[in-house]
Amino acid sequence: MTGFMLAIDTTAGTSVALLSRGSVLSEVRYDNGMKHAELIGDAIAQVFAKVELEPQVVDVVAVGRGPALFTGLRVGIAAGVMLAEAVGARLMGVVSHDALALETYSNRLDLADGRILVVTDARRGEIYWALYDGIDAHGIPVRVAGPAVGKHDQVTAALAEYGQFTEVTGGASAHWVARLAEAQLMAGLETDEVSALYLRAPDAVEPKPNQMFGKRVSG
């Protein structure tokens, strides 16, 4: 059990939440899928200001590691890493799709024990996805496949072996990152791994050796 936990997720909008002993004290969520660098500082400052607490109270910083579009994702992780340094808190990472799964299972009683496929937009005609099979005894969603990236129809076809599942989508929020992180801490299943889940290599092409420039005009 932690005193205070600060959670950050920038996989969709910019979202920050402050949690204490299982309840979310304050949260700020900007749904703007861009401007993460602009919004992150105010968002963090506001969750403390709202409840008149100083950042030093924080014992644990939890960040959503994605998968998500890279640029925004990095802003949240960078902020989480540095906030933990600033206040001397422990740092932990969660898969953002796991947080979305927890939110779904908590809010959609009709899906209680069913399988769900959590899907978010990966651009370029692809999706980031992860498949879950209910919640375990610790209250943690059971991920059975993913997270991964691929074409929607191909992903769906490839997952047919898992039988029926309901597809859900949405934007992860720090609120559910915090709840998931809390459950993981209680169960002793937390991880201090906060590397970004890019799932794609950078777009870059290695040039041929001795490459010439432009068209040849001579010869």
């Binding site: 660098a37 105010d42 640029t71 960078a78 540095m82 420039f213």
Partner: protein
């Protein structure tokens, strides 16, 4: 290229005429009488400044703005009496410079509060005062007559004692170096640079996404090393500074996100500073100040820029920059063409040492008379790179043996020649007896040699900071941040973003 040389100086009684003309043009029915203005200018408790343009040919001055401050002896309060800028000169930052200097005077006179009144319908002025940290404390209804416009009373609280030598931590992430530096005032405490250069080698140039990923990974270890080197804890840091542009957007955002979280977590102010002006600010760490005016030539893999710096914090002008490739990029590309590894600069330098720089006359970009009219201080290296490629092609097609050493030396000579010639021209044209070099390409031996020789021949003082202060680094960002703190500047808000094309005129993003 003509540049408006705007200087700010103390007002004299001889300025009364031009001041009154500005007063009447600006304030019309609200104008003070000439007698009132004369009293203001000569009174013991007032401090008036004028902004003047100096004609570079005739040396004559014309007053384009003025402002005054009143501060009575032992009071800890002072008042901005008036600030005015000629209508056709607005939007150039003159009002801000006048205000910054007036507030500086108030601080030097130990004022704790600076008050001013502003017309409620004067939005640009209110925005300026807001950005300087002034807060509206009262409204006087129908204060301005006969228009019946309200006056907003604004107040700026000055910190009781700005720490003489604040500890500032600076973060740099504009390209492929993650830099975290720590300074105490103008003294360097730590300068740790983690470069992702090796990761880019196989691509022959910096890949933005690779650089951004590397920044995220490097943040924590680089911070730990910097704190260990400075022998301080984070809690001792007084302010955070971060480069928010120009540079690679995705890379900059990592630094911005990190810096904001540090500032909020520590409860310390944050200063968003210009990366290029940071290169100029690096000189503070070696000389205690940046002597101005100075021309700065900043040459790296991402930039090739000529700056005229009359004031490090308030008056930086871009004279020219590359219109295509940066000089460092040209080195990389030509190195690859010659079968040399990345990064190209050191490799070309090494090979060129045994070559004849006069063997091949490669073109000097933008130096023909017709180009010089429009691009006197601009650079172009794309044509040079192509010329080298063609030359090699032709030689190969003819089956001729050629000396890579000569090609490298001749290419390097062409780059260095243009860089130094244009920089020295900028010094001579602007009567600036100083040239400061910055950026990773400054490591180039030939550039240093030619710059030293040409500066000496022209009576120009050459400044080349140590290499780890020339290349992209966090210490220069911290140094510029510390200068802002010590000048009593308001911190940046928490809502600034990364700006890949941030102009050099924006030294601090508020």
């Amino acid at each position: 290229m003509t540049l408006e040389q705007i200087t700010i100086r103390g007002a004299r009684i001889e300025d009364l005429g031009p001041i009154m003309r500005l007063e009447q043009n600006n304030f019309g029915t609200d104008s003070w009488s000439e007698a009132t203005m004369r009293d203001e200018l000569v009174a013991n408790h007032t401090h008036y400044l004028v902004a003047a343009i100096v004609d570079q040919v005739t040396g004559t001055e014309s007053v384009v703005g003025f402002g005054g401050l009143s501060k009575h002896g032992s009071h800890d309060q002072s008042d901005i009496q008036t600030v005015a800028v000629a209508e056709d000169m607005r939007g150039k930052g003159i009002g801000r410079r006048l205000m910054n200097q007036l507030v500086g005077i108030a601080r030097d006179l130990d004022a704790r509060m600076v008050f001013l009144e502003v017309r409620a319908d004067n939005t640009p002025a209110q925005n300026l005062y807001d950005s300087m940290g002034f807060k509206v404390i009262d409204t006087r209804h129908n204060y301005y007559q006969p228009d019946g416009v309200d006056a907003r009373i604004m107040c700026l609280e000055l910190p009781a004692n700005i720490k003489h030598e604040p500890i500032v931590l600076g973060i740099e992430s504009s390209c492929d170096e993650t830099g975290i530096g720590i300074v105490r005032g103008g003294t360097l405490l730590a300068n740790v640079i983690s470069s992702s250069m090796e990761l880019h080698a196989r691509f022959g140039g910096v890949v933005p996404e690779v650089a951004a990923r590397a920044h995220l990974e490097a943040l924590q270890p680089t911070l730990h090393k910097a704190l260990a080197e400075a022998k301080i804890s984070l809690q001792e840091v007084d302010a955070i500074a971060v480069a928010n542009g120009p540079g690679l957007a995705g890379a900059l955002m990592v630094g911005v996100g990190a810096a904001k979280a540090l500032a909020v977590g520590l409860g310390k102010p944050i200063y968003a500073v210009n990366h290029l002006v940071g290169h100029v600010g690096a000189d503070v760490l070696e000389r205690g100040e940046v002597e101005v005016p100075t021309i700065a030539l900043l040459v790296s893999g991402g930039h090739t820029s000529l700056l005229l710096v009359r004031d490090l914090l308030d008056d930086v002008v871009l004279l020219g920059e590359t219109i295509d490739d940066a000089a460092g990029e040209a080195f990389d590309k030509v190195a690859r063409l010659l079968g040399l590894p990345y990064p190209g600069g050191p490799e070309i330098d090494r090979v060129a040492a045994n070559g004849d720089p006069k063997a091949i006359r490669f073109p000097r970009g933008l130096t023909l008379p017709k180009d010089m009219e429009k691009h006197r201080y601009d650079f172009s290296f794309s044509g040079l790179k192509t010329a080298v490629a063609r030359w090699v092609e032709v030689a190969q097609d003819k089956g001729e043996d050629f000396s890579i050493e000569d090609v490298a030396a001749s290419f390097r000579e062409a780059v260095v020649d243009v860089l130094v010639t244009k920089a020295v021209n900028a010094c001579l044209d602007n009567n600036v007896p100083r040239l400061l070099l910055g950026g990773g390409v400054v490591a180039n031996r030939r550039l240093r040699e030619v710059a030293a020789a040409k500066c000496e021949a022209n009576g120009i003082e050459l400044r080349i900071p140590a290499f780890n202060l020339c290349t992209d680094n966090g210490a220069m960002i911290a140094a510029l941040g510390a200068q802002l703190v010590m000048a009593g500047r308001a911190p940046s808000s928490l809502s600034f973003g990364a700006d890949s094309t941030l102009p050099v005129t924006t030294v601090q993003t508020l």
